[in-house]
């Protein structure tokens, strides 16, 4: 999330290429866990909440997780994930984009926030 960051809604995005090794067609996929991690020595105190979404150029955006409020002093956040959102169409694409929305309570003019994430999916294939 590149600064300057202004009070209110801000957005970060990162793309990835899903690699579904199993044979057959992907019929159902849900996000089973989503953990966002700050670099060593940093935390997420700048965020009041976090919303996680997935989108591709050919599929609609789907919200898959949320954490509200963000607990203070945490260097890793485990999001509440949606068990209902079927991501099979998105994960069948060549490239997906993670979109992370976060509300920031105060202006942060010289700050750029970087973080990484661990995401697990439950997937079902049919032959």
């Amino acid at each position: 999330m590149e600064g300057p960051l202004f009070q209110g809604p801000n957005t970060a995005q990162a793309s990835f290429s899903p690699t579904m090794d199993a044979e057959g067609k992907l019929t159902r996929a849900t996000l089973s866990s989503a953990v966002i991690k700050a670099p060593e020595g940093q935390n997420f105190d700048a965020f009041s909440d976090v919303v996680l979404q997935l989108v591709t150029s050919s599929s609609d955006m789907i919200q898959v997780g949320v954490l509200n409020p963000v607990p203070k002093g945490q260097s890793s956040l485990t999001l509440q994930v949606s068990n209902e959102a079927n991501l099979s169409e998105l994960l069948s694409s060549d490239e997906c984009v993670w979109v992370i929305d976060a509300n920031i309570p105060v202006d942060m003019m010289d700050t750029t926030l970087t973080f990484s994430g661990d995401f697990s999916f439950d997937v079902t294939h049919t032959k």
Binding site: S57, D60, V66, L67
Partner: protein, 154 residues
């Protein structure tokens, strides 16, 4: 003679290529007119439209009444049909999603979400000559829906 024809053909392709590139830039500029901050007619919120991954999305960036009168805390998407997402704050919520520019001052293939009742509608956006937006939400048939007029704030 053959060389001359080939050269002419190459130049023609180049000309078409340049013209196509200019058209694309013009289309993008036209499409990006949707970017900005807009006020729905009910005056309850401001919505910022941005381009993300080639599509247009609108987020609630200001609420007239940011707190839920029942809890005294910031409003949440408490009517979301997906219970696991009901703690999503309305401030920052993407209520317009996935619009693509179809030309002729119209953005289509999108959805509009009504946080009042948790309903999601198919939606189109038409920019009128006076610069306001006709935002139409509908289920199934476009003719059977409701249109709201949004005014640019920024």
């Amino acid at each position: 003679m053959m060389k001359s024809i080939f050269l002419t053909f190459s130049l023609a392709i180049l000309t078409v290529g340049v013209a196509f590139g200019q058209d694309k830039k013009a289309d993008q500029k036209e499409a990006d007119r949707l970017i900005g901050v807009w006020a729905p007619s009910n005056g309850r919120a401001l919505v910022r439209v941005q381009n993300l991954a080639g599509k247009y999305y609108g987020r609630i960036v200001k609420l007239k009444e940011p707190n839920d009168p029942e809890t005294g805390k910031p409003k949440l998407d408490k009517n979301n049909p997906d219970e696991s997402l009901r703690s999503t704050p309305l401030l920052g919520f993407r209520m317009l999603k996935d619009f693509v520019y179809a030309g002729d001052d119209e953005w289509t293939e999108g959805t509009i979400y009504d946080p009042q009742n948790g309903s999601l509608y198919s939606s189109t956006i038409k920019m009128k000559k006076d610069g306001t937006l006709d935002i139409r939400g509908y289920i199934g048939v476009k003719a059977l829906g409701r249109t709201d007029v949004w005014t640019r704030v920024k």
